[in-house]
């Protein structure tokens, strides 16, 4: 793929001490976070970035210390994010042929993305109806069929339960709703004939 690097964004960490300032900037290929707020830092949910061993180690330490990180990229205006308490941070090594040193890969996932916090809010990487339906069905354990994806998306939007998030190389959305609510919708949809169960 030509010019693949143009799709990349960046994750930047800056630490100012008394007389020195350290700035570390690594390349990010994916990011999901809340929309930028006027004041303060927004919540970040997912970050996938890569760089050298030292850069990734510094960013890893900053994230675990709950330091704010600036994230930006194409179609994403740079803004400050924090990943909150106990984010899951994974590091991997990518060996690139022709390069002397391996590239380190960092993935950060917030507790909310891992569905450990608020169960009534689900973060989905793409706004496609199929992915939304699958995510909601899997997380809540709902009796949903793949044929109902379009109906479910329209129902969510009508109820104002879909909220777009900021994303880099993705179109993330947050879905709000409880299991009992969604089950009620399914029951009403079947009763009204909006959806039907095909014979097995």
């Amino acid at each position: 793929m030509k010019n693949a690097h143009e799709r990349f964004g960046f994750a930047e960490f800056e630490k100012k001490l008394r007389d020195t300032a350290t700035r570390i900037r690594i390349t990010a290929d994916c990011f999901i976070g809340e929309r930028p707020e006027n004041a303060g830092h927004s919540d970040g949910h997912l970050l996938s970035a890569f760089g050298t061993d030292v850069e990734v180690a510094a960013l890893w330490a900053a994230i675990l210390a709950e330091e704010p990180i600036r994230v930006g990229g194409q179609d994403l205006k740079p803004y400050m994010v924090q990943f909150g308490e106990r984010p899951a941070v994974y590091r991997g090594t990518l060996t690139v042929p022709g390069r002397r040193r391996p590239v380190r890969h960092l993935v950060v996932a917030s507790t909310q993305l891992r569905a450990e916090g608020d169960q009534a809010r689900i973060i989905v990487k793409s706004d496609s109806p199929d992915l939304i339906l699958r995510s909601v069905a899997n997380l809540h354990g709902l009796p949903l069929l793949s044929d109902w994806s379009e109906w479910f998306r329209i129902r969510l939007q009508k109820a104002g339960r879909v909220r777009p998030l900021s994303g880099l190389n993705c179109v993330p959305v947050a879905i709000r709703g409880t299991k009992s609510e969604f089950l009620e919708w399914i029951g009403a949809g079947l009763k009204n004939g909006e959806i039907r169960i095909p014979q097995p």
């Binding site: 354990g141 009796p143 069929l145 299991k179 029951g187 079947l190 169960i197 014979q199």
Partner: protein, 185 residues
Amino acid sequence: MVLTCRHPPRSNSLSFNLLRLHKLGHSGMNRPPARRRPASFSQGAGAAVAVGRPAQSNDGAGLPMGSLILFERHRGPALPVQLLHGRRGDEMMLSMRSSHKECPCILNAKCVFRQKRGNGLLSTAGLINGRFGSGDRLHVAAWKTKKRVIRTEENEDEKTIIREREQFVHELALAFANGETALIE
């Protein structure tokens, strides 16, 4: 059937001791069951009988230096892995000791999953999820496990004892063709 034998405290290697059993003719791998049952050996379905001490929960997992206990069920070729395997149904114990990690037979342990209770196996396999029934009873089912924490607080002499008990429950959500929905726990 369980075989119990005592060995000299020279080695704690399972494979070595098995070899010694072969030499002594006590393991009886290629013999019919009637011939490989010495009078001094005890019998029992998976029961553990230790020589000189009562059976313990870590029998076989941490092999004592002085008295090695071997267990055999005679379902297949008698290997050290099978001697240890399936007695307590807890293979997690095997790799906890470094001495076991050194034994290649244990590392090659065959994983046998035995369902103990409930429909966990069925549900995790996704066999409960999907469309079932016909006519008015046609429905879609979705299964999920839920973790519950039961928290109790007791006040005793200006002290508060907090107990948290974790439970995993099955939850089955159903949506019928006529619009009825149900949530079964």
